[in-house]
């Protein structure tokens, strides 16, 4: 609203909620008309919301204690929540490290395929949150590039999997992987 690119409050609210909840719905008919800063922030909301805003807060801010489990439980979907390590703050950090590492790999692969860095950053934000905000009107299809589509499809699948599993894979706890 402040940039004047989405002038109506209801539209701006819808777009923001859609971003942070990784819903991916949009009121914009011409996405390319937005400034690059707005496109970046729009996609970035997916990245923050993908893991949960409060998981982010738990991971990086002080004053978390054993009761932060209640926040994590409210933020994470599903009936149960698994602790990777005894402290919730450490669990949130591990999850974010996996989240960031996977995202960096995706960006590198897209850049290696010839996608501009800005585009690859924004598209990877859309992929990690599994929300799908893109920066072009016809999304990834506009690039008309099979390599980009393949990379993004694979990472969509990877980001759709429970992140606890990656942690168990890293520590070679294959029993837990199969359990997951």
């Amino acid at each position: 609203m402040l940039t004047g690119e989405i002038p109506h409050y209801a539209d701006a609210f819808f777009e923001t909620v859609s971003g942070f909840t990784t819903t991916g719905s949009s009121i914009l008919s011409d996405i390319e008309a937005l400034s690059r800063a707005s496109l970046f922030w729009r996609s970035f909301t997916h990245w923050i919301g993908g893991m949960g805003v409060l998981v982010f807060i738990l991971a990086f801010l002080p004053k978390s204690n054993e009761r932060t489990m209640h926040i994590m439980r409210a933020e994470v979907p599903g009936p149960t929540i698994g602790k990777l390590v005894p402290r919730m703050k450490e669990s949130a950090k591990i999850l974010y490290e996996i989240y960031m590492a996977l995202r960096i790999i995706e960006v590198v692969l897209l850049v290696l395929g010839g996608m501009p860095l800005f585009d690859s950053l924004c598209n990877s934000f859309g992929t990690v949150g599994t929300g799908g905000f893109a920066i072009l009107n016809t999304s990834i299809g506009q690039y008309n590039n099979v390599y980009y589509e393949m990379v993004i499809t694979v990472f969509m699948l990877l980001f759709g999997i429970n992140f606890n599993m990656y942690y168990f894979l890293l520590i070679k706890d294959f029993k837990q992987v199969f359990k997951e």
């Binding site: 402040l2 940039t3 409060l54 009761r67 209640h70």
Partner: protein
Amino acid sequence: MMFLLNHKLQKFNWHVIFNIIGYVLIAEGILLALPLVIDLIYDEQVWSAYLIGMALCIGIGYPMSILKRKHTSYFAKDGMIAVGLS
């Protein structure tokens, strides 16, 4: 009816909930620096909007984050409210 609602609302640990929302606002305010940098790189003249956004988030979030807690314990219901509001 209003008494019942008021009584239920009083059961929440609002200080902790406001603390958490304050931290969320501060974090968002800091993260708004990223699109601001992007705007400065591409020179599209919308940086002031992001600067105002940052100031608003941190300006509102900081006082909320330093609210003194009457008691530090919070439970699942408080977590649910904090997540919902943030």
